[in-house]
């Protein structure tokens, strides 16, 4: 499986790495126990700093999507498929909470927000979002 990053995107690069690895697990392009490149190797291949890749790997390790075993290297966690669903829900919840809090600070009411989000979801239904 290839990983693709776009530095021009509004999504931070470490998050792009996280999203693609989680998607790879959910779509079964990455199997349980598959070895992943080291932080240094992936940073070199993607021409990034090790800090960026390390941040992505730390998030994935906390979400039990990957497991790092010192000299044995980094592998896909044995419960990664189950954990991926929960991980995405948690990530979504965190992002939505942050978004709602920001909007409330701007003075938008819960009803307005709810109506806007419902409208957007209604528009998106039946379309494939890439």
């Amino acid at each position: 499986m290839d990983i693709h990053i776009n530095e021009a995107s509004s999504i931070p690069v470490y998050e792009q790495i996280v999203i693609q690895i989680v998607a790879g697990v959910r779509e079964k392009r990455l199997a349980i126990g598959d070895a992943l490149p080291t932080i240094r190797q992936l940073a070199h291949d993607l021409e990034l700093t090790t800090v960026t890749v390390s941040r992505a790997y730390q998030i994935l390790e906390r979400g039990r999507i990957i497991t790092t075993g010192g000299r044995r290297g980094t592998h896909i966690h044995e419960q990664a498929i189950d954990n991926a669903g929960r991980f995405l829900r948690e990530q979504t919840e965190t992002l939505v909470r942050e978004f709602i809090h920001t909007q409330l600070k701007y003075g938008i009411s819960i009803d307005e927000l709810s109506s806007t989000i419902a409208h957007i979801i209604s528009d998106l239904k039946g379309t494939t979002v890439s």
Binding site: E7, I21, P37, Q41, L42, D45, L46
Partner: protein
């Protein structure tokens, strides 16, 4: 006799020059594949660097060619031998290093593309050649090492011969293994860029061809060294000025009788190596380099 040796050395020089030339063209394509969008915005850079300069290679190869011809004219095996060692091994090695450093400098001048790819699953040698061939190659190295140690412990060969054999094995096998590891691990992004964007066949072929070639060299060297060891255990060896120098360095009298004159051996090795190099020069990779592929900003290389 020296004319035939000179002819075999000229043949060797020709294939080496061809090999370095092809490698440099591929390296330049890899360099320019770093950021095609930037190259489109900087046509003057592409215009200046779209062709890999071959003059340093030809400039270095011409005196070597001249020395081989000179060695044949004056009928001196010593001139031919040292021209091959210092010229083909030394001068062309320096040219390759300079080419490598120059490409690195050029690469640093091109900013990385905003969109980049990498393989997430680590590759192994088995991804580019059959597992059986890879196991056979590494097995042959292990067999050679065991054979060297056993023949030394059983006093089949002297300490100086043993040390010489080990040094040669470390240099040749070590060099091949390091280059295989380098191509597998370090060049994935570059070859991947070529596959994604500009040269879909070339990116894949480049890795496959280089790794298969290095694996073949490993097997070839093991077979050759094992054959040589059998003769060494029986008190024979292929004489050469290099072996004489080695025994003098270790202050050990030359214990082995010449099996065949070094000159005959050189011709045999050249003739055996020739199919290997011809296979490479006629490979799909070299054809892809010559013809190029479609839809690329660097396609006109």
């Amino acid at each position: 006799m020296n004319s035939i040796i000179a002819l075999s050395y000229l043949l060797m020089l020709g294939v080496l020059v061809h090999f370095i030339k092809t490698s440099h063209i591929i390296m330049r394509k890899l360099t320019l594949s770093r950021n095609t969008a930037w190259l489109q915005d900087n046509p003057e850079f592409l215009q200046k660097h779209h062709k890999a300069p071959m003059w340093p290679l030809y400039l270095s190869a011409t005196p070597i060619f001249g020395m081989i011809v000179f060695g044949a004219i004056v009928d001196s095996y010593s001139v031919l031998f040292w021209t091959r060692l210092a010229g083909m091994g030394g001068v062309l090695g320096v040219v390759c290093t300079i080419y490598g450093l120059y490409e690195k400098q050029l690469l640093d001048k091109i900013p990385p593309s905003t969109e980049r790819y990498a393989s997430l699953l680590p590759k192994t040698i088995a991804d580019y050649t059959s597992k059986k061939v890879a196991r056979f190659a590494y097995g042959s190295i292990a067999l050679l090492a065991v054979a060297y140690i056993a023949s030394f412990l059983l006093k089949g060969i002297t300490p100086a011969t043993f040390a010489g054999n080990i040094v040669m094995m470390l240099l040749i096998d070590g060099g091949c293994i390091l280059s295989i590891r380098h191509i597998i691990r370090e060049r994935i992004p570059a070859a991947g860029r070529m596959q994604k964007g500009q040269h879909p066949d070339l990116g894949k072929l480049y890795k496959i061809t280089y790794i298969q070639l290095m694996t073949l060299v490993l097997i070839f060297y093991s077979v050759l060294a094992l054959t040589e060891l059998i003769f060494e255990c029986q008190g024979y060896m292929i004489p050469s000025p290099l072996a004489d120098w080695w025994f003098t360095l270790l202050k050990e009298p030359h214990p082995l009788q010449p099996l065949v004159p070094q000159a005959y051996w050189d011709i045999v090795v050249t003739l055996v190596l020739l199919p290997l190099f011809l296979m490479l020069t006629n490979s799909k990779l070299v054809k892809a380099v010559k013809t190029g592929t479609t839809g690329s900003v660097t396609n006109d290389l």
